[in-house]
């Protein structure tokens, strides 16, 4: 008997049946003394608690990194990382910027114009084939 072919694997698409937010850990690096970290320190003091409670599925780590610009590093379930520099940003600007981690997952930032609509059902009557008579 010929060897059995390997069993197929179902297609795992996030959002089909169950949606799992892809961001799993955010590490905040800041410097105690530098001016560029002032906005991030302000964020820690005012908004971080609320932000962490709004995203209970994300592990938050605050790690001082002296004499360097402030960074926000996001790690995703796929293992990829996105590093955002938040130097000289206010607390509000930082919150807007890190939406890139919590909402856009690990996809690269794509230009909005090219690509258009992506659909799994591109045509109502089906795509033309030479084998169909209609």
């Amino acid at each position: 008997m010929p060897p059995r072919p390997p069993l197929p694997i179902p297609v795992f698409k996030n959002g089909v049946g169950m949606f799992v937010p892809q961001i799993k850990r955010i590490v905040f690096n800041y410097c105690e003394r530098s001016g560029s970290s002032r906005g991030l320190i302000d964020f820690f003091q005012r908004d971080l608690k609320q932000f962490a409670e709004a995203h209970p599925h994300v592990e938050m780590v605050v790690h001082p990194r002296p004499s360097k610009h402030p960074l926000v590093k996001g790690t995703f379930i796929s293992g990829r990382q996105k590093v955002l520099c938040v130097k000289n940003m206010s607390s509000k600007e930082i919150q807007e910027h890190i939406k890139l981690l919590t909402e856009a997952a690990d996809a690269h930032a794509k230009p909005a114009i090219k690509g258009g609509v992506v659909s799994s059902t591109p045509a109502v009557r089906g795509i033309w084939s030479p084998f169909k008579q209609i």
Partner: protein, 302 residues
């Protein structure tokens, strides 16, 4: 939460301060009743994040046990082997009843293969990866493990988590999770079907069903004497067209038409099928009035 403040006011302290969420708010709670929050005092941030992401309502002790493999600390701490076995049985039950109800005309060998495919190591490791199980699993890679050891471990821990879910939150929650996380993902069953002699199989099938024997009729053809002919052939039972195939020769088109007819029959799908496990969530009166889905026929023997 006070550990963040203390690090801000201490100058040049290099230690990392991790943020502990006192209460992991699960906004995707799987149970219908509001369960009392179990003791969650000694969860690590990664574990708390995992519970919030999946919506599981485990105590810290249960989560620790479910995510610990027996290789961790040589089995001196409670490990997940029992829960793993439990989870295998739970998975087998819900996956089998769903596939059997969804595809009533599937041959028995294909049903077995489909269940095996949905509960295989590869599939369960992908399921585990999709919920982020690699951050919470505790294990020790052995020397003779091989290159797929991490994937195998993810599959085992996923099974243990499903067993723990069933044990802690009951059948309804476990079924909801299995349906949402695993059974909602599509899998093409065509490679698992016995389609090697389609015309013969189609003949036997129609004879068993008491329908007219299959006949191939040309629907459309073009370029017969050229280097690229196209023949479109339909497989008919009497006046009903049961399959269609196209090819560059009449024989090829006939073969494909018979195959198409068999695929349409075997993969006939019942949408939102009534499942026997639905009765677990029904009130008493409705449960007594439950009538199962009609049985499909067994396949023709060649």
């Amino acid at each position: 939460m006070s550990c963040v403040r203390s690090s801000l006011f201490a100058l040049a302290r290099p230690a990392a301060a991790t943020f502990r969420i006192a209460q992991a708010i699960s906004f995707r709670a799987l149970t219908t009743q509001a369960a009392a929050a179990p003791k969650r005092g000694d969860l690590t941030p990664a574990q708390a994040a995992f519970l919030a992401r999946t919506g599981f309502n485990f105590s810290a002790k249960l989560l620790k046990q479910a995510t610990t493999h027996k290789t961790y600390k040589d089995g001196k701490v409670p490990h997940s082997e029992q829960l793993q076995y439990f989870g295998e049985q739970v998975l087998d039950l819900y996956v089998t009843e769903y596939i059997h109800a969804k595809y009533p005309n599937l041959p028995p060998a294909t049903l077995r293969d489909a269940v095996a495919a949905y509960t295989s190591t590869a599939t369960l490791s992908m399921l585990g990866k999709s919920i982020g199980v690699q951050d919470v699993m505790r294990w020790e890679p052995q020397e003779v493990s091989g290159k797929d050891s991490e994937a195998r471990m993810q599959a085992k821990i996923t099974k243990a988590l499903i067993g723990a879910l069933y044990k802690a939150q009951g059948a309804v929650a476990a079924k909801k999770f299995i349906h949402a996380a695993l059974l909602a993902k599509d899998m093409d069953l065509a490679p698992l079907l016995p389609l090697d002699e389609p015309k013969r199989a189609l003949s036997a099938l129609l004879k068993r069903q008491g329908r007219e024997r299959p006949v191939s009729r040309m629907l459309h053809e073009t370029g017969r004497h050229s280097s690229a002919p196209v023949f479109v052939v339909g497989a008919f039972s009497g006046l009903d067209k049961i399959g269609e195939g196209a090819g560059s020769s009449i024989k090829m088109a006939e073969y494909r038409a018979a195959k198409d007819a068999l695929l349409k029959y075997y993969l006939h799908t019942r949408v939102n099928p009534p499942l026997p496990s639905d009765t677990e969530a029904m009130p008493h009166a409705e449960r007594n009035a439950y009538v199962g889905a009609p049985l499909g026929d067994t396949p023709a023997i060649l």
